[in-house]
């Protein structure tokens, strides 16, 4: 429906990108539409008009507006996303847009600008991770990217505390559930994607055929085209049957979480619930239990499995 109503508005050198539950392909009843008009080319005053038109169309369709932090909605410029990785100008908004562009976004309509920005961001992470003149190669876990994904996850966790103070109890329980499930899922997908460079390029013959590191860039780009659940499922299948049991527990817990979000009454209860009342809420108790099961499954996958993931977690996951 969004494609039919919005794709025709998007001019050359731009892409309409959606994030969040739409980007993860996990839309539930109460999902909002986190979107941005991504510019990758010469500036044109028409771009703002298009962004405003998109906003109006979404309002006409009765879609919930993007979150109040102002991360989404309006315009995003590729120059900031590509060039400002790290440093004082890399704001929370820029970091969030960049990492979510990789890990939980989808494009509505023409995807050429969208793919170009993703390819350029990945190119920076891969190329700048290689120590020039030191015989280094890109066929390893790209630490630059992995650190930025970890930074994003920690930022989300820190901002959780910030929002709790700023907004008092409003939305606390829902934010908690999302932090423990969907936000964590995105981090997991990012971590596994970076690990996959080391495991999938372990063969020397693949490396010899890769002048310029384009195969690594394409490998990551193709991973990021998947949803977070898709990335995790792909990894689990790669190591089947070693991870079959924790995978079942992980997906069952996540499925339960999505069912709660998709239930209007449950979602409303979580939206209104305060920390003080949480111990009397069966919905909160359920979602909290699902979060625990989800974490236990992840602990098995990352720390207790006989796959390369365990060794990679030890080597890259903390220090």
């Amino acid at each position: 429906m969004l494609r039919g109503r919005l794709a025709g508005l998007v001019p050359t050198n731009t892409s309409l990108v959606v994030f969040g539950s739409l980007g993860r392909n996990e839309v539930t009843q109460g999902s909002d539409v986190d979107w941005t008009l991504l510019l990758d080319g010469p500036a044109d005053p028409q771009h703002l008009d298009v962004a405003l038109q998109i906003e109006r169309r979404l309002e006409e369709m009765g879609r919930k507006e993007p979150g109040r932090e102002g991360t989404f909605g309006g315009l995003a410029v590729s120059h900031d996303i590509i060039h400002k990785i790290g440093g004082g100008d890399d704001t929370n908004r820029n970091l969030t847009q960049r990492i979510l562009l990789l890990l939980e976004s989808a494009c509505i309509g023409d995807a050429v600008a969208y793919q170009s920005v993703i390819n350029n961001v990945v190119t920076r992470y891969v190329y700048e991770d290689v120590a020039a003149g030191a015989g280094d190669t890109p066929y390893k876990v790209p630490r630059f990217l992995q650190n930025d994904i970890a930074r994003y996850w920690r930022t989300v966790a820190v901002d959780f505390a910030y929002k709790r103070r700023l907004r008092a109890a409003q939305g606390w329980a829902l934010r908690t559930a999302k932090l423990r499930m969907s936000r964590k899922l995105t981090y997991v997908a990012g971590l596994l994607s970076t690990f996959s460079v080391a495991t999938d390029f372990a063969d020397d013959s693949q490396q010899r055929r890769d002048v310029g590191g384009y195969r690594v860039i394409k490998h990551l780009r193709d991973r990021f085209r998947e949803t977070p659940l898709g990335i995790i499922a792909g990894t689990i299948l790669q190591y089947s049957p070693s991870l079959d049991d924790p995978a079942r527990r992980l997906f069952r817990a996540y499925d339960g979480f999505l069912a709660i979000l998709d239930d209007e009454d449950d979602r409303k209860e979580l939206e209104k619930l305060s920390p003080q009342d949480s111990e009397h809420s069966a919905v909160y108790a359920h979602v909290h239990q699902l979060g625990d099961e989800f974490q236990k499954a992840l602990t098995t996958i990352f720390f207790d499995s006989d796959t390369p993931i365990q060794a990679l977690t030890r080597r890259y996951g903390v220090f």
């Binding site: 050198n13 010469p42 050429v112 390819n119 190329y127 290689v130 310029g212 384009y214 394409k218």
Partner: protein, 236 residues
């Protein structure tokens, strides 16, 4: 050594005879006869028997960049004169109305990857859909178009990887902010250098950047230098 040269359109717009004259004393060993407007094609094709093209190891014809469905059979009929000489016919995929009328050209039909303004033929995935309908067609890899679509050149890499056996000709130039072909800037030269390993060495190079007559040799030398593989880019 690979063949290299110019598009006549880049040297003298629609005046192909003047372009051939200007290129006759240069080092060019390849030429693309350009009829970018439908109205230019009949005169170009009629003139073929009279053109002095002996010095060229490689000759191709660039089909018009737009024509109606009603004009399409006439375009195909006119281009048959090029096919009869075994010359490649470079075609923008978005101009096609009926794929069936182009299929008989087989591998002489050289589909060009497109710039961002076009709705199809820009990426490896989009080109795949065209080659599904024209399975015998070859590829004219346009570096400027690929770089405009993705400045990281990841998509360019994938186009050449995916269609390695189809690449029959390469277009070299750069695009300005209005998608017009221009001479390689220092950034364009650097991009060519970083990507030179992936440009097939045995495929003719055609420069599409508009030049003044006195700039022809310089642009050939600059382009060839930019596309000389240096094997120093492994692992970035």
């Amino acid at each position: 050594m690979r063949s290299f040269g110019f598009s006549t359109g880049a040297v003298a717009l629609a005046d192909f005879e003047r372009a051939i004259d200007l290129l006759s004393t240069t080092a060019a060993t390849a030429i693309e006869l350009s009829a970018l407007r439908f109205g230019e094609l009949p005169a170009l094709m009629a003139a073929i028997p009279t053109l002095d093209l002996v010095k060229y190891k490689y000759v191709s014809v660039h089909a018009p960049g737009a024509f109606s469905a009603a004009e399409e059979p006439q375009v195909v009929e006119l281009l048959q004169a090029a096919a009869d000489r075994e010359w490649n016919i470079v075609l923008h995929p978005d101009t096609v109305h009926d794929h069936a009328v182009w299929a008989p050209f087989g591998s002489l039909l050289c589909i060009e990857n497109m710039d961002r303004r076009k709705p199809i033929g820009r990426t490896a995935a989009e080109l795949s859909r065209i080659f599904e309908r024209l399975p015998d067609a070859s590829l004219c890899f346009d570096f400027a178009h690929a770089r405009q679509c993705d400045t990281s050149l990841t998509e360019a890499f994938w186009i050449l990887e995916e269609f390695a056996t189809k690449v029959a000709q390469v277009h070299i130039s750069e695009l300005d902010g209005h998608s017009r072909h221009v001479r390689l800037s220092p950034g364009g030269v650097a991009a060519c250098r970083s990507f030179a390993e992936w440009i097939p060495q045995d495929v003719p190079l055609i420069i599409e950047a508009p030049v003044e007559p006195h700039e022809i040799e310089e642009e050939i030398a600059r382009t060839l230098d930019a596309l000389t593989p240096r094997l120093a880019v492994a692992a970035a």
